[in-house]
Amino acid sequence: MGGNAQTRWWADARVGYIVIDNPPMNVLSDENRRGIRDALDEFRADGVGAVVLTGAGDRAFCAGADLGEEKHLTDETVGKFLARGEQTFRIIRDYDRPVIGAINGWAMGGGLVLALWCDVRVGSTAARLGAVGVKVGLMASNVQLSRLFPEGRARDMLLTGRTVEADEAYRLGLLSSVVAPERLMGEATAWARGMADRPHELMAAAKRAVNLALEPAVPR
């Protein structure tokens, strides 16, 4: 069990839980990035087999970068800003256990990126996903959305920035299941427990294999 000012985490029966708790919309702060990293390290040491990542409250999973912080970025600081984000996603992608995103509300911009780097996503009926970067003249979630999705669907979401509600997200395969809000953590726990009960080496190898399969083929 642990936490910092904006992140809480604990483990129960070999399932780890991380909650982004930065109300009202759970914008992703440096505290959250540190919290995710520290929690995953601690879980590995404690023999956790799978991890559930979610947002506090019923409004948002994660609303992405703080636009207030982002508007002060200069040519010098933007590189560090991008590197901090990338580091978090890399930690989740390269973590040797599955991470399940429990999408309890808005997942937009950098919050969508965070959701997409999770290995599996389950959502509540209140889940709303949006690649909203384009609305502020930026791009985010391009890479992961383009890899998870066939190009036609990636273009639709990225170029319009439109909101995808839970039922459409399920149909598109962005969510693997959708349940009522009060059942979300139970559902995410069931997915995590199913994975935590399998041999760790097998889960780690399967995750690595999928990561590698998304690499472009070597020309023959």
């Binding site: 970067g133 391009n142 890479v143 170029l159």
Partner: protein, 165 residues
């Protein structure tokens, strides 16, 4: 019907979309269809190119379903496969396309082609190289006047006006 907005092409499909029409529709950025539309790759001028494009657009399993499977399929199947991202009653097709044009026209124009190019690149690059492309675009876009206008409008809860700089 093919329309363009901020350099992004939208095809609204009604009736039979086959052969060369089908090939042209696949080249667009966004496709929507009327519920009575039908689709077929039959008569394509270059079936191999069509198969390649379909694999990029839909993924391998779905592309094979089209190229090797039933010769003609309906709008509901096109939606399921991801050929189109929306199906509406025929009477609403023109308005749907117009709404998309309007929506795209209201977005910052510099970001749109950058996103389209980055989507295309993401498939051909390693994740690290693709992220580098995305970040290069991000660094350029964050310095634009349009981005600053969008953030200011967000905080002032009003629509933004974009100039393309």
């Amino acid at each position: 019907m093919r329309v363009e907005s901020a350099g992004i092409s939208i095809v609204a499909i009604d009736g039979a979309c086959t052969g060369a029409d089908f090939e042209r529709a696949l080249e667009a950025d966004i496709r929507v269809a009327a519920d009575g539309a039908t689709f077929s790759a039959d008569g394509a001028r270059d079936l191999a190119a069509c198969a390649h494009r379909l694999t990029r657009l839909l993924g391998e399993a779905r592309a094979k379903e089209i190229v090797l499977g039933p010769r003609r399929f309906d709008a509901a199947t096109a939606l399921r496969l991801g050929i189109v991202t929306r199906v509406v009653p025929a009477a609403e097709l023109a308005a749907t396309a117009a709404a998309l044009v309007e929506r795209l026209a209201a977005l910052p124009p510099l970001a749109l082609p950058a996103i389209r190019d980055a989507v295309r690149a993401a498939r051909d690059l390693t994740p690290d190289a693709a992220l580098a492309v995305e970040h290069a675009h991000f660094r350029r876009l964050i310095a634009t006047r349009d981005h600053k206008a969008a953030v200011a409008a967000f905080f002032e809860r009003r629509p933004a006006v974009f100039t393309g700089d």
